[in-house]
Amino acid sequence: MVLESAPPEFRGGNSRHTRNLRCMHDSPTQFLHDSYPEEEYFADLLRVTGGHTNEELARMTIRASNSCTGWMMSQGVRFQPSLSGTLHLARTNAFFLGGGKALMNAYYAAAQRRNVHVIYNAEVIGLNITNGTFESARVMVNHEPARIRAGAFVAATGGFESNLDWLKEIWGAAADNFLIRGTPYNQGKVLKLLLDNGAAPAGDPTQCHAVAIDARAPKFDGGIVTRLDCVPLGIVVNRTGDRFYDEGEDLWPTRYAIWGRLIAQQPGQIAYSIIDAKVFGKFMPSVFPPMRGNTVRELAACLGLPADALESTVGRFNQAVAPGTFDHSKLDDCHTRGLQPEKSHWARPLDTPPFLGYPLRPGITFTYLGVKVNQNAAVLMRDGHPARNLFAAGEIMAGNILGKGYIGGIGMLIGTVFGRIAGREAACFVR
C-alpha cells in the first residue's frame, strides 16, 4: 500500500520535476556515451560534497546505478538522448523521456498492474514505533483520521523544504521571502516523526540547496522554468542598487547553486540581475519576461530600485571593465579592475539599450537533513542499531550520501537505488 500525501495530479513528490539519472557505466550504453567509471563518479561526488559522504553507501549506490536503467525500463520507464543544451551530461546522465512526471506515471502504472493500492491525499501524522519496530501509522485520509497497521514501513517522504515554519526556525524571518521550487507536500512530517522516535539524523540540519530564481515565481512548485541563467552575463545588485558578489567567479554550472544563499543574505532577500541587449537571447529563456528600460534610470524605475544608486553602480562597473575577448563558454579574460567586489570573467560594459532586469529570490530545491540508514536501507536508531522493519528511501535519506552540494542526477539515483533496496527488504521482512 502506498500512502501519497498529494492528490493524483501532484503525486510522486519532487520526482515530478526531475529529468535524469546519473549512471556509472564501463562502456557505452543505449543512452550513454563512452564510459563513466566508479572512480570518476565517486571523485565527482567527493568534489561536490567536500567529503561529506558515507563512502560505503556512496560506492554501493554508484555500483548499483549500473543496473538501474535496465530495471527501470522493465517497469515501463522510457529514456531518450540527453536534452539539447545538456550535451555535457550525455556521457553521465540518462534522461527520462518526457521528464520526471512521465517517469512517475510509468511507476504508478507498474504498481497498478501489480495491484498495489495507492491512497491519495493521505498524510501520515503519527508513527507507532516500539524498540525500533514499526507497528502502525496514524493517517489523515481526505481529512479523516485512520490507523493503518503494516508489517513494515518505508519512509519516502522527502525533506522539509516546504514546511515554512520549520524553515523559519532555522532562517528566521528571511524564510518568508524564500520560494520553494518543488512540491508543497514535502512537509518533513515523517522525517520529524522518525527523528522524534529515536532515528539517527544524517546531513546538515540547517542547510538547503538554494538557487537564484525569478522572484515572480509561484511560492511552490515553479520547477525548472523559474531558473534564471543570466547572472554571469551581467551584474547583480541588491535592493539598494549595490553589487555584492563576483558574478563571474566561475562557470555558471558550478556556481549557480551558491546564489540562493547569497541572495538570502541580502536585505529583503531580493536581488536583481541586470543585463543589456547584447546578451539577451544568449541564455535559456525564462518563463517571465524581463523588465526593460531604454536607460538605466528607466529600468531602475521599473524594478523599484533607487535610480541614482543603480546608475552609479552601472557607471562604476562600466568604467572598471578591462578590455578582453568575450567567450561565454569558458573562463574568458573579460574582467573588472578596481571594483569591490570585482567581476572576474564575462565582464562587459552595460551600454546597449534596452537594459533588462530580472528580480531574483532564493529558490529552495531541497533540504539536507534526513535519517541515517544502512546498506539495507534500514533506518539506524540513535543507539546505532538498525530498526527492524523501518526503511527509508529518497530525499529523506539522501543526506547519508550527499551531505553537501549537488551533482546532477544523483538525487534520482539515490531514490531509485534505495527505493529498490527498501522495497526488497520490507518485502523480505514481511514474508
Binding site: G85, G98, G99, N105, D221, V225, G281, K282, V287, G408
Partner: protein
C-alpha cells in the same frame, strides 16, 4: 489564462520553452526551441505540426491543476482549427469550419437534389449498368467541376499556409524535405511512439489510433486508386463499368471501402473515449462530419457494389454519387485539411532542421547550462 487561443498559446509555449522536458516526444518541441518569441504564424505552424497525441500533457509537471495550467494538446487544437479558418479559400466559405455539421448536412441535401436531377431514371434495363441511371458524361461533368473547385480551394489554402510560414514557395518541393515529410505522414511516425503508440484516447499508450488512421488513410487512397484505374479502363482500354468482382478497380475499391469502414468506425469509437481534458469540444462536429462522410461514402459504395444487379441499384447510385459529391465539396472546409497542413508543416520542419540552428535572426538556441 487567456480566452484568445493565440495569446494563451504564447503564454503556454513560453513556459514550455523554459522547460523543454518534452523535446523527445515529437517535432513540435524541437521546432519550438528554435524560437525565442512566438507570434501567430509560429503558433499556426506548431499547431499544425501537433498530432494531438497528448503525451506532453500527461508528462507535464505544469498541467492543471498546477497554476501554470499548461495544456499543449488542447491549446494547439484550438489554434489549429482557427488556422484552418484563416487559410480557407474563398474567405466567405471559411465559416463552414465553424458550423461544420450543419454545412455538411446542407451540402448533402443539395448534392442529393443535384444527383436526383441528374439521374435519368431509377432502374436500369441491363443489370448493373450504372450509366443507364446516370450517364457517364453527366457524372464526369459533375465531378470534373467539383474537383476543379476543390483542388483550387485546397491549393489556395496550402499556399496561404506556406506564405504565412515565411518559407519560399520553392522550398515546399525541396526533394529531401518532401521525402522526410511524406515519410513522416505515410508512416504516421508521430503517432507510433516508436512502436508503443500514443496516449490517445487516454493516458495509457496504445497503437489503436495509429492502426485505425492507417486503415482510414490507406482505405481512402485505395478508393482513389480504384477510381483512377477505372478511368484508365474507360478511356484508355475502352472497358465500360460495371467491372467484375475480381477486376482491379473493384478489388481496390472493395479493400479501400472496408478499410474506410473499419478505420472511420474505430476512430469514431476512440473519439468518444477521448480524455475530455485535452479535447477541444468545439471541433467535435467537424471531426464527426468528416468521419461520417467517409463512412457513408464507403458504405454506400459497398452496398452499390453488392446490390448493383437488384432493383435498388438506382437509388443506391444516386445516394452514393450525392455522398461522394458532399465528401469532395467538404474537403477544403473540414477535417480533411489537417492532412494537407500537417504534411506542409512536417516539410517545413525538415527544412528548418537542415538550416542553421538559428531561429530568429541572430539568436542561437540557448540552452540549460546546468541541471537542477
Amino acid at each position: 489564462m487567456s480566452d484568445n487561443p493565440v495569446q494563451e498559446g504564447v503564454r503556454v509555449l513560453t513556459i514550455c520553452n523554459a522547460c523543454r522536458y518534452c523535446e523527445g516526444f515529437c517535432a513540435v518541441f524541437p521546432a519550438m526551441e528554435r524560437r525565442l518569441n512566438f507570434e501567430e504564424a509560429d503558433l499556426n505552424y506548431l499547431a499544425n505540426l501537433c498530432h494531438h497525441c497528448a503525451e506532453c500533457y500527461y508528462a507535464c509537471q505544469y498541467a492543471p491543476p498546477h497554476e501554470f495550467a499548461v495544456n499543449i494538446p488542447k491549446i494547439l487544437a484550438e489554434v489549429r482549427v482557427n488556422s484552418y479558418y484563416k487559410y480557407a479559400w474563398p474567405r466567405p466559405l471559411a465559416a463552414a469550419f465553424r458550423r461544420n455539421g450543419l454545412v455538411a448536412s446542407l451540402t448533402l441535401m443539395l448534392s442529393l437534389v443535384i444527383s436526383v436531377l441528374a439521374a435519368r431514371g431509377w432502374v436500369s434495363k441491363s443489370p448493373g449498368d450504372f450509366y443507364q441511371v446516370m450517364p457517364h458524361e453527366v457524372m464526369v461533368m459533375i465531378f470534373g467541376g467539383v474537383s476543379i473547385f476543390v483542388l483550387t480551394a485546397l491549393l489556395a489554402g496550402l499556399v496561404r499556409f506556406w506564405r504565412e510560414s515565411g518559407e519560399r514557395l520553392s522550398g515546399f518541393a525541396t526533394p529531401f524535405a518532401m521525402k522526410a515529410g511524406l515519410s513522416d505522414v505515410l508512416t504516421l511516425r508521430y503517432l507510433s511512439g516508436a512502436g508503443e503508440g500514443c496516449t490517445y484516447p487516454g493516458e495509457h499508450r496504445s497503437l489503436a489510433r495509429w492502426w485505425l488512421h492507417h486503415f482510414t488513410f490507406y482505405g481512402f487512397l485505395l478508393c482513389f486508386a480504384a477510381t483512377s484505374v477505372a478511368a484508365i479502363y474507360h478511356y484508355a482500354l475502352g472497358l465500360r463499368a460495371p467491372y467484375g468482382y475480381l477486376s482491379l478497380p473493384v478489388v481496390l475499391g472493395t479493400l479501400g471501402g472496408f478499410g474506410l469502414l473499419a478505420g472511420t468506425g474505430g476512430l469514431y469509437w476512440l473519439k468518444q473515449r477521448q480524455d475530455a481534458a485535452t479535447a477541444d469540444h468545439r471541433q467535435h462536429g467537424m471531426d464527426s462530419a468528416f468521419i461520417a462522410l467517409l463512412f457513408l461514402t464507403s458504405l454506400t459504395g459497398l452496398l452499390l457494389l453488392f446490390l448493383r444487379e437488384t432493383p435498388v441499384m438506382g437509388i443506391l447510385l444516386v445516394t452514393h454519387v450525392a455522398t461522394v459529391m458532399t465528401l469532395f465539396l467538404m474537403l477544403p472546409y473540414g477535417k480533411f485539411v489537417h492532412g494537407m497542413y500537417r504534411l506542409a508543416a512536417l516539410i517545413r520542419y525538415s527544412l528548418e532542421r537542415s538550416s542553421k540552428q538559428t531561429g530568429e535572426a541572430g539568436h542561437t538556441n540557448p540552452q540549460h547550462p546546468s541541471i537542477l
